[in-house]
Symmetry: C2
Subunit: 155 residues, 2 copies
DNA sequence: TATTGTTATACTCTATAACTATA
DNA sequence: TATAGTTATAGAGTATAACAATA
């Protein structure tokens, strides 16, 4: 009997959780669209940033920071090296390991990507005034902290 | 020369865009984790909700609403039917098409899933008081509208 | 001929396991 | 023997194209 109560098929209007998921997805897609003209896929963008943050680090170091398995890193660095954005330099004191470095072209590519991300932020928040933006950032940070996501932010 | 300026490798602290992407991803993962014990994968959850919102709709109707290609719908409905959550009923007036309906077990499964989503919302917003929650929802809705995402919300 | 649903096929992505070269 | 990186292999997931039944 109880199972045949008239249920509201349509739930109450979208909640915060749903909004977050959708907006996060939307923001990610928009960013990717801005990266595409630069020839950068999201995964490459992430690796580029991680290398820039710790130039000279080994593949494994960067990989474990991004939670990418070794074979995955090999493929990604292969891509970036083929495109002349990243360079593998042998470590003379341990000839098994490589140090990863951005090339000049890699630096400028990353700069463009960061600028694209910046302008995407602007487009995303276009409807909010500065006070609202600050408030939103505060609330989101609060949630992130409460969820223990402090370290998930890359650099 | 200009290319050799000391650049801040580490960007200014995470921005709203990044926070949104990360929190959205986090929220989606948390929800999926809550759905798993019910034997529901995210894709099935979405289809279940779409069917509940318009019971009797054809596969194509549901599929186009969720932006899923026909072969994908076939596989998904196969899954759900095999698990006794959804039923295909032939349409007598057009014997090519099926109408999709939830079974009793499908309804209760969806109910549990919706309850799980509800409790996940609670967990997610645990750090905010009611006024903050309302404010956050307002700000997010503002962005969603400004981004033209009005219809992306399912039901 | 057009449409609903289905099946068959190919492709991308990723993860796991085996291998090499240094240490 | 252990470790950094690589290669080979296998699997999941998805998209595209061809197909059957009905209109």
């Amino acid at each position: 009997m109880a199972s045949q109560l008239p249920r509201p098929e349509v739930r109450p209007p979208a909640r915060v959780r749903l909004l977050l998921i959708q907006l996060g997805y939307h923001a990610a897609r928009r960013l990717n669209a801005r990266l595409e003209p630069l020839g950068l896929e999201p995964r490459h963008y992430g690796v580029l940033r991680a290398i820039a943050a710790r130039e000279g680090a080994t593949q494994q170091a960067v990989g474990s920071r991004l939670d990418l398995a070794p074979p995955r890193m090999v493929a990604l660095i292969d891509d970036l090296e083929k495109r002349g954005l990243v360079e593998r330099r042998r470590n003379p004191s341990d000839r098994r390991a490589y140090g990863l470095f951005l090339t000049a072209s890699g630096r400028s590519c990353l700069d463009e990507a960061l600028a694209a991300a910046e302008s995407e932020e602007e487009a995303l928040l276009g409807g909010l005034d500065p006070a609202q933006r600050a408030q939103l950032e505060l609330l989101l940070r609060e949630i992130a902290e409460h969820q223990g996501l402090g370290d998930a932010v890359l650099p």
